[in-house]
């Protein structure tokens, strides 16, 4: 792994923060290994457990955890007390300007806004030049505008930071925007790890699919494969769909197919991968209509159709929907897991 941003994505309470604390040495895992740049920080079998102060890992806490009794300047200088005074002050000044807080050095944390506190916390974590920077839900406590600016600043700082950045979030969009690699967590631990495109396009299993916003998942039995065409039995009915890679499947295998609501399009009869579905509900979002369809009597599909593509559809009528082959994903707890994890 080169200098890049990695994200841990998962619902709250799934052990994401605990993972960060274990890496930083603030909590001790029951067993396993933590290795950073070929150095073992923790190894339960060999009895290695480096204390936090020797790990050289920067930690940005969700609630910033600034020292309330110290000024901004003193907070940033806290981790570099071993430097001579002149050098230390220079480094603090440099970091203050990096996070655009030059004029706030003498303030106390309680006198700063949330966004300002976070930038001070970031400067403080960067001061000792850590090998890894860990960010625990860095943007969840901020309002949208501050958040956008801080995200941009984080990317800027990351560009000239000589280490890895690992951050934890429950927000898929945030993880996707900021990171190149993602680890998806669920209660109990890691369920998929890979580059962000793979995670989004080829989730290893249904849990990952749900967590990454793959809302339409339906199950069937494979009844025929011919080239890129897959025939699946859905209860009493059959459906023929064209997919990118059905060859890995076998006849009579149970299969889950999934597609994001954003990829479903309205179609004319006769297109490939076309299904007739009844509209059962609709809500109006900022730039699209969110529709709920039902086909084959029991399968629900959610589709987000841009407002620009036509007037609002009428609930109770049936429409033809197109499921593009390149966006239709096969999910099997065994099928694509091996490939992407």
């Amino acid at each position: 792994m080169d200098q890049e941003i990695m994200a841990i994505l998962g619902p709250s309470g799934c052990g994401k923060t605990m993972t960060l604390k274990c890496i930083a040495g603030l909590m001790t895992p029951d067993q396993g290994k933590i290795i950073l740049n070929e150095q073992a920080l923790f190894d339960s079998q060999q009895g290695i457990n480096l204390p936090a102060r020797e790990r050289n890992i920067g930690f940005l806490f969700q609630n910033y955890a600034l020292f309330p009794h110290l000024t901004v300047h003193e907070n940033i200088a806290f981790g570099i007390k071993s430097l001579p005074a002149a050098q230390r002050n220079e480094r603090v000044q440099q970091l203050l300007s990096k996070v655009r807080m030059e004029r706030f050095g003498h303030r106390y944390p309680a006198q700063l806004s949330g966004g300002q506190q976070q930038r001070v916390a970031l400067a403080r974590a960067l001061a000792p030049e850590p090998e890894v920077l860990l960010l625990d839900e860095p943007f969840s406590a901020l309002d949208t505008q501050v958040k956008e600016r801080l995200e941009a600043e984080l990317l800027e700082i990351q560009a000239d930071f000589q280490g890895h950045v690992l951050f934890v979030t429950h927000n898929l969009a945030e993880a996707y925007r900021l990171s190149s690699k993602m680890a998806v967590y669920e209660t109990g631990g890691l369920i998929q790890w890979g580059d962000r495109q793979t995670i989004i396009e080829r989730p290893a299993n249904k849990k990952v699919a749900y967590l990454t916003g793959m809302e339409n998942i339906f199950n069937g039995i494979v009844s025929g494969i011919e080239g890129s065409r897959l025939d699946i039995g859905l209860g009493t009915d059959y459906l023929s769909l064209y997919l990118d890679n059905p060859s890995s499947l076998e006849i009579n295998q149970e299969v889950s197919l999934a597609i994001r609501p954003d990829y479903i399009k309205l179609a004319d009869k006769g297109d490939v991968n076309c299904i007739l579905a009844e509209l059962t509900g609709s809500t109006e979002e900022l730039s699209f209509y969110s529709y709920s369809f039902r086909f084959n009597e029991k399968i629900n599909l959610k589709a987000n159709i841009p407002k620009s593509s036509g007037p609002r559809l009428i609930v109770g009528k049936s429409y033809h929907l197109h499921l593009p082959p390149e966006n239709l994903v096969i999910i099997g707890d065994n099928v694509s897991a091996g490939r992407s994890s």
Partner: protein, 238 residues
């Protein structure tokens, strides 16, 4: 009144000051160590132990004195030890210190523990990730952050040991110049019908206690400096 003052024996003042200062110093150190230990640890019987530490606060001082006598008296298991090495505790100046320390300990312990428990563990963790040893974390983060609480506890403990009467009288007795503190002196002056002299000691105690309370309020104000957010101009370029 001038005659009364001229004829006054100032010994109770010196005995009280000496006793209170030493007792407060002991409570200060023990209170901080035990409070810190209790604040960050979970174990079986923790609330029972906590109850024992708080008990002297709610017990009548005579009961505390009785229990201390039981431990430290000539036949007590600890007292007999001291008796054998020729330094009996009972009716000595150290008995006055012990009585004052025991009754004031709960105030120091409870206030300091509250202050430690209020500290966000993440802040101490932040210091650890920034390379601080446990010793540094304690002195540079925990103590400064808990300081207003510790100071308040110290003042309360000081005032309580200054006012200690019952346990002191039972354990240390009323030996002028050695164990006779101001509260004990007041009791015996009134009993002996010397109201005017008693009044002077009453005024001395009133003055010291009043100063303590003012100091306590000052610390509470100081505590607000970083525990809440002053609405000073927060510049808009956040």
């Amino acid at each position: 009144m001038v005659d009364v003052m001229a004829a006054m024996d100032l010994n109770p003042l010196w005995v009280s000051l000496k006793t209170v200062l030493v007792a407060t110093a002991i409570t200060f150190v023990l209170g901080i160590i035990i409070a810190r230990w209790m604040a960050r640890r979970e174990f079986k019987g923790k609330s029972l132990l906590d109850g024992i530490f708080i008990l002297p606060l709610v017990l009548p001082p005579t009961v505390v004195g009785f229990i201390l006598l039981w431990f430290l008296g000539r036949n007590g298991w600890l007292g007999s030890l001291f008796f054998e090495i020729g330094r009996p505790v009972v009716f000595s100046w150290s008995a006055a210190v012990i009585a004052a320390a025991v009754v004031s300990f709960p105030l120091m312990y409870q206030t300091a523990r509250g202050a430690f428990e209020q500290i966000d563990a993440n802040i101490e963790d932040a210091a650890r990730t920034l390379g601080s040893s446990e010793w540094d974390v304690f002195w540079q983060v925990t103590i400064p952050m808990a300081w207003p609480g510790i100071a308040a506890g110290t003042i309360l403990a000081f005032a309580r040991s200054l006012g200690e009467f019952g346990a002191t009288l039972m354990l240390a007795g009323n030996i002028p110049g050695r164990t006779q503190t101001i509260p004990v002196a007041i009791y015996f002056l009134v009993e002996g019908g010397r109201q005017q002299q008693a009044l002077i000691w009453v005024l001395v105690i009133l003055l010291i206690s009043f100063i303590s309370i003012v100091a306590l309020n000052y610390w509470k104000k100081h505590q607000r400096r970083f525990s809440s957010r002053p609405n000073r101009e927060v510049t808009s370029d956040s």
